[in-house]
């Protein structure tokens, strides 16, 4: 059994439901950028968060490297 095999029919139905309508895409992009900026600003506010980022301790990557 391939653990990373795609299930085309399932994925197609999900994609259909998950697709952002064309006329909403720009608004979603704007809001996402604003939220990402505020998230990054919050992460820079405290030195301990910056330490965790410097050493990749805030992501699952830290366990893999």
């Amino acid at each position: 059994m391939q653990h990373n095999a795609i299930v085309p029919a399932l994925s197609a139905q999900l994609l259909n439901d998950a697709t952002v309508e064309a006329q909403q895409a720009a608004a979603v992009q704007r809001t996402a950028l604003r939220l990402a900026r505020s998230q990054r600003a919050a992460l820079r506010a405290h030195w301990i968060d910056r330490f965790l980022q410097q050493y990749g301790l805030h992501t699952a990557k830290a366990w893999r490297c």
Binding site: M1, H3, N4, A5, I6, V7, L10, S11, Q13, L14, L15, N16, D17, A18, V20, Q24, A27, V28, Q29, R30, T31, A32, L33, L35, A36, S38, Q39, A42, L43, A45, H46, W47, I48, D49, R50, F51, L52, Q53, Q54, Y55, L57, H58, T59, A62, W63, R64, C65
Partner: protein
């Protein structure tokens, strides 16, 4: 990796000699020089210099690693605060005061392993009861419970035989335990959310949720909720099931959409059992798509109160766009792994 394993293992080591050996080994493992002057924070750069110096010390004289123990213990405490909100509910409530003034609400979860004995399960039940009482002290008894903080419970903490082969015993016991907690939460008008766990326990958890949701003693309370994991291939059907249940029982059920935290063990378990299919999506990108598909389904289900747990800015933006003028949504970002606060 060296820092993470040190952080995880250090506090569990009971004797000083082993703790010293672990410090020496992990500090030798790290390539701290590659982080030298890499940050624009003087504190972070100072810590990197300290790590470089400590590595030099333990490389030359491993037996001197004991000198580093107080510093390591302090560092672990600092790191721990980023991962755990409070050591007990009182500390967590105190720490929540400042963010609460900025409009944040909290759902308190307890870290811990599953109950291994009846005594464990009783201890967790009492702790959940105490948490409900403590959170309820500050709750507004009028209006929707979603305006107040809540408590999240894990069924595996409430029963030491929460496993499919013990369903006949475990499910009635869990219905009794969760029902009692739900009545306590209703009395204080706070939310009670049942966390999602491994897929093989899903059917049992649904049986518990259904029985508690249909309990007439909870009438008029809108605080019952449960988590749905978007990585489950059955996630869309679970949302449909929740909507049907809410309509049948005449209550507003909260569904908290999460991505799912047991991916590795789900894959391992399916492989051990030689199942024909995995219960979870095996690619992260498909889980992301599933999350959005489930979010749309949740927003369209009138009987459900949608709650979204995610750190993904684009996902939040998409849900906000789809929600339009709706303002009864909850967004939560688990405050661990040093992700900061939005």
């Amino acid at each position: 990796m060296a820092l993470l394993t040190l952080a995880e293992a250090y506090l569990r080591i009971p004797d000083r000699a082993t703790a010293t050996a672990l410090i020496a080994e992990k500090l030798r493992d790290g390539n701290w020089r590659s982080h030298r002057r890499a940050s624009d924070s003087w504190r972070v750069n100072g810590l990197t210099r300290a790590l470089i110096a400590a590595r030099a010390l333990v490389t030359r004289a491993p037996s001197m690693a004991w000198l580093l123990r107080p510093g390591v213990a302090l560092s672990m405490q600092l790191l721990g605060r980023q991962f755990v909100f409070g050591c007990d509910i009182g500390q967590a409530l105190r720490r929540s005061r400042q963010p609460a003034q900025r409009g944040f609400g909290f759902s308190y979860d307890m870290l811990g392993e599953s109950a291994r004995t009846d005594a464990d399960a009783q201890r967790y039940f009492d702790a959940y009861g105490a948490a409900i009482a403590a959170v309820g002290q500050h709750a507004d008894r009028r209006g929707s419970s979603s305006r107040n903080d809540g408590v999240s419970v894990k069924l595996s903490a409430l029963n030491c035989r929460y496993e499919p082969l013990q369903r006949a015993h475990a499910v009635p016991e869990l219905i009794e335990a969760v029902g009692a907690l739900a009545r306590a939460a209703r009395e204080r008008n706070i939310a009670l959310t049942i966390d999602a766990e491994e897929h093989e326990r899903l059917e049992m958890s649904l049986a518990v949720i259904e029985a508690v949701a249909c309990d007439r003693r909870l009438e008029g309370w809108d605080g019952l909720g449960f988590a749905v994991q978007a990585y489950l291939r059955r996630a869309p059907q679970l949302i449909d099931w929740a909507a049907e249940l809410a309509q049948r029982c005449g209550l507003r059920l909260t569904v908290r959409l999460v991505k799912g935290a047991y991916w590795d063990s789900e894959i391992e378990r399916a492989q051990q059992l030689s199942l024909a299919e995995f219960p979870v999506h095996t690619r992260k990108c498909v889980t992301d798509v599933s999350y959005l598909a489930c979010a749309r389904r949740l927003l369209n289900a009138a009987a459900l109160m949608p709650a979204f747990a995610t750190h993904n800015a684009r996902t939040v933006a998409t849900v906000l766009q789809w929600a339009g003028a709706r303002r009864d949504l909850e967004f939560s970002a688990p405050a661990w792994h040093g992700r900061g606060a939005l």
